[in-house]
Symmetry: C2
Subunit: 137 residues, 2 copies
DNA sequence: TATGCACCCTGTAGCAACTACAGGGTCAAG
DNA sequence: CTTGACCCTGTAGTTGCTACAGGGTGCATA
């Protein structure tokens, strides 16, 4: 499989595939006589794993650890669980933070009654946290 | 006010203040005889505006537009309202996306029963989106 | 007077995770 | 024999900072 086919098969940008190789996330594939990369099915499924994990928000380093683990099928899977659980917790924290942000932004946006910038409550609220009702950080 | 005082007064890293000046978000202040930056109260409140807006998740470019607007107090404030509303919508979308992620991650994490990596349902789920119950993207 | 220390300066490079060229080579079809 | 689709390497850009390196300044103390 050439890089273009792998790109279409996994929905991954070609530049991204080369980037993953450069940072050691995907192993370097064989080359054809013309120096084209030639991928196997193992590459395809590894890349699918990476892309899917990225879509689920895991960082490259987390994915690296997860790949290490699945490369060594006899190891205890507790590490994978720990990574996934920690990531879930981070997502939950991020949601809470964004919800606070949303509430504060809703209050701020709702205060604009139109008119000139000098009188705008939105601009006023952005300039001074004392107008806020939550710490939002 | 020297840069260290401004830094303490606004809770902004000194490097960040210089960065804002470099990208034209803060006007270059006067200099002392020793070439030290010397800030006025106008600088201080402008920087507070920037930091507060950043805390609320606005991008630098959005803040630039908001500052342009507040620099011209006679202008109609509708543009500010539009920026803030658009930002609020983005925050809401991000929350929804993260909520989908959280649900999917919760399902995935819940499937691990311990054991070896070869049998791990978490690793399996990460490798193949067909195990997912939502599109989560 | 020297010297220590806190503070300031510029310029550059690093982070994450890509993305986008520039400037070239390869290969099959018409 | 040229056109077009593909592939290659290497480098630089994105966002919003942060962290030096390598210097200068200013004030208090011994
Ligand atoms: Zn308004
Ligand atoms: Zn606030
Ligand atoms: Zn498991
Ligand atoms: Zn999925």
């Amino acid at each position: 499989m050439k890089i273009g086919e792998l790109s279409r098969a996994t929905g991954t940008n070609i530049e991204t595939i080369r980037y993953y190789e450069r940072i050691g996330l995907l192993p370097a594939p064989d080359r054809t006589a013309a120096n084209y990369r030639s991928y196997s099915d193992a590459h395809r499924s590894r890349l699918s794993f990476v892309r899917h994990s990225r879509e689920l928000g895991f960082t490259i380093e987390e994915i690296r650890s997860l790949l290490d683990l699945s490369d060594d099928p006899a190891r205890d899977c507790a590490a994978a669980d720990r990574i996934a659980t920690a990531h879930l917790e981070q997502v939950e924290q991020k949601i809470e933070q964004l919800a606070r942000l949303r509430d504060e932004l809703t209050r701020i946006v709702g205060r604009c009654r139109g008119g000139i910038a000098a009188d705008c409550r939105v601009i006023e609220a952005l300039g001074d946290h004392r107008h806020c009702e939550s710490p939002h950080v």
